[in-house]
């Protein structure tokens, strides 16, 4: 068997490109006329978005009776989709902030794109808390605005913590992303020949002039933002898990939920980033910037977080038995062998079994294998939230109200629409903004930094 020496750091950027080549490669998709592939992709995702919009419009007009939600399963697709999409967002912050603090240089090629995905995923997720009441225009009451009723929001409620966590997360991610984009927009501004592009690039770059007096503050700001984004990203999914854990329902009321949710979020987010990057690097000829080594490292993260999630599944069963609480053990036996056993075993197979392929180096570096596993992971993680939400609710404390939850066509329409929205935003982003952080990639090139004797 061949052995590999992993102590030697491979080059973050392959083929040793010059600085101006980096500019050219990243600017190319924005300068070239839209390709047919891009148009088709936009058409498909926009159609999905329209399907979602129509389903949602009908649901709001007709009322939420159009959905499958009913007693006892009052929380269903909307919360499942919300947790799923917030989770997708977590990979971006992990890559851009936590890996930055750990000085992982391989993040530079993928950080910008992952951050953009964070923002789009949180936007998509944000739709569900708004629509799940059927009256999205009343969402203003979620914020502590002074109103004629003299009422305030309930600061003791996890649902309110969610409002603060998700909106803060979105704002901070947006600031982080935009601050990173300023130098790149400045580069594009200095490069472009079209007048309209020049206007917008000037507007967004704010007149950045590549000054090292500015870089001095800029790097400090980046450190500060990374330092704040790191606990923030952990807090967001922790608070999302409180939505469940603070209630008293067996299967939800567990202290393992915060770390379990955070690990699951990173897991699904990495799978999504990896999937889209595989397509992107091929499409834009960025194989030397988003290298196979980078993807391999992402797969290792997938393997690790997948096993954390698997550990959580096992630990939930252990605690259900060890606590001696008959309600707890009933819920977990019901999860694995009851009405929704099919969903449970999809979840376990996709999340725990398939990522084990990544123990093998060859499979870890095989684009087809990693793409398929990534898709499976996202299916599995969606089902994880479905299993947690629906199995516990459908078998609550009163056997007389037990029921089998079935989603309707409108539920699926809105789910498809959420993917449509996410991918529409992603596809527009890759056409109109630099998908790779030019200044960061330049900074990690071998030839770019002074070598002192």
């Amino acid at each position: 068997m061949k052995t590999y020496d992993y102590t030697i750091e491979p080059d973050v950027i392959e083929k040793n490109p010059t600085l101006s080549e980096i500019n050219d490669v990243v600017a190319a998709p924005m300068e070239a006329p839209p390709s047919n592939g891009w148009k088709v992709a936009l058409g498909i995702s926009f159609t999905m978005l329209i399907i979602g919009a129509l389903s949602l419009g009908y649901s709001l007009y007709y009322g939420l009776g159009a959905w499958g939600n009913n007693q006892p399963v009052g929380w269903a697709f909307p919360i499942v989709n919300f947790v799923f999409w917030v989770g997708i967002g977590h990979a971006g912050t992990l890559i851009s902030a936590i890996l930055f603090l750990f000085r992982q240089k391989w993040r530079t090629g993928i950080a910008r794109f992952a951050e953009a995905m964070t923002i789009f995923a949180v936007m998509t997720a944000g739709i569900f808390p708004l629509i799940h009441t059927g009256r999205p225009w009343l969402a203003g009451y979620l914020f502590p605005l002074p109103n004629q009723h003299g009422l305030w929001v309930n600061f003791n409620s996890p649902l309110l913590w969610d409002v603060f966590a998700v909106s803060t997360y979105f704002t901070v991610s947006l600031v982080f992303w935009y601050v990173g984009l300023i130098p790149d927009f400045a580069m594009l501004r200095d490069r472009t020949k079209k007048k309209i592009n020049k206007f917008f690039y000037s507007l967004f770059s704010l007149g950045w002039r590549h000054s090292n007096r500015h870089w001095n503050h800029y790097e400090m700001l980046y450190l500060v933002l990374a330092g704040f984004a790191t606990p923030l990203v952990l807090s967001v999914h922790t608070i999302v898990s409180f939505d469940f854990a603070v209630s008293i329902l067996p299967g939800w009321h567990a202290t393992i939920f915060p770390p379990y949710f955070v690990a699951g979020a990173v897991f699904s987010g990495f799978a999504m980033v990896q999937n889209v990057l595989i397509v992107l690097r091929k499409l834009f000829k960025m194989e030397h910037i988003i290298t196979i080594d980078t993807l391999e490292k992402m797969n290792k993260v997938l393997l690790a977080t997948g096993m954390m999630v698997g550990y959580a599944y096992g630990m939930e069963f252990f605690i259900a038995w060890y606590s001696g609480n008959p309600l707890e053990s009933f819920v977990f036996i019901n999860r694995a062998f009851g009405n929704y056993a099919w969903a449970y075993w999809i979840m376990v197979t996709c999340n725990v079994v398939f990522p084990q392929l990544f123990w093998v180096r060859k499979l870890r570096r095989n684009l087809v294998v990693m793409f398929i596993v990534g898709v499976f992971v996202n299916i599995g993680m969606w089902f994880e939230r479905f299993v947690i939400t629906v199995t516990s609710l459908s078998r609550d404390f009163l056997p007389s109200s037990w029921d089998y939850y079935k989603p309707t066509l409108f539920d699926f329409g809105i789910l498809i629409g959420s993917f449509g929205l996410f991918f529409t935003l992603v596809i527009l982003f890759i056409k109109f903004a630099p998908v790779v952080s030019i200044s960061e990639v330049k900074g990690v090139l071998k030839s770019s930094q002074p070598h002192h004797h």
């Binding site: 600085l19 803060t168 704002t171 901070v172 590549h210 090292n212 870089w215 933002l225």
Partner: protein, 381 residues
Amino acid sequence: MEIDNKKLYGVGALFTSPNKVSDAAAKIAEKGYQDWDVHSSYPIHGMPKKMKLKWSPLGYFALIFGLTGTSIGLFLTYWTMSVDYPMIIGGKPSFSLPAFIPVLFELTVLLAAVGTALTMLFVLFKLPNNRHPLHDTDYMKEVSVDKSGIVVEAKDKLFNREEIIEIFKQLGADKILDINLDSDEVNYQPKILEPKFLIFLVIVAFGISFLGYFVNNKLLFMTPFNFMVDQQRLDAQSKSEFFRDGFGMRLPVEGTVARGQVYYQYKGKPELAEANLINPLVPSEKVLALGKKKYNTFCSPCHDYHGTGNGRLNGQFPNPPSLHSEKVRNWKDGHIYHIIVEGQNIMPSYALQLTEDERWSIIHYIRALQRSMNAKEEDLK
């Protein structure tokens, strides 16, 4: 020479090698220039040290903004939950700090991150600044691609064009060039209250005011699809198309007793009722008032307001016998109660219309009516 210097913004030197530019920066800093800068499209390691720049103060800003966020959160949660509208939730004190920590944390992060970023961009860098003399120069176009450059500005006290060009040459610059001000840049006087900026401020002010008004007064009170409010219903006594018997009002299901009612155990046994049932109410003003009200509603149409039997329905129904007869006066309360519950001859049961207390009150009122028609001697005293 004097005129030339006025139009000159500064002298720039371009370098390809990061080693050279970083040595050059150290040299320029040593010479004691103040108004100069190094430009590169990415941060060069160790450059702040070479340029003798101060440590960035942004960390302190982050601390101040963060603590401001915490304080705002603490005040907001304390004032709303404990002062303005105190609420006890889950048996906890109205100010339960552990439950507020998520909100405090999020507000800390929000203000720290946004505040620090805005401070850097708008206070320290004074951006947006698209009119800086360096924009659209050849120097800038090279720097943003693959060169790094040093500019010494003409306004520096030590500035001397020839001397600086000489220094740059010694430092091994690839290219040395003058950066001149454009004609409109020479005449341009920066001022805060530019018309464009004022218009921007007015638009923002109007936008926020309108949005605030719209959200707080219109949006949060919107009821666009209120057809769900209109539910189908039947008025009392009206015909139902839904139930087979056509009655809009429903009878209790056979064999059931509604909440608050008692099963009547003397069905078809008036003697037993008379023997066992005792009026539980004491005749008070309140009881008599209730009895009068219910009697006038349910009994008087046939029995007349005074119990004579010559009621308003005279002619449509056969008159019932008078309530003042010897027979009725001698009935015990239980007997009358039985008749109210079960009915008698043509009179139907009034069990559904009258509650137990109402029946007994009516009986007290009937007794009062009987007494009024057959008053005894001592009643006059």
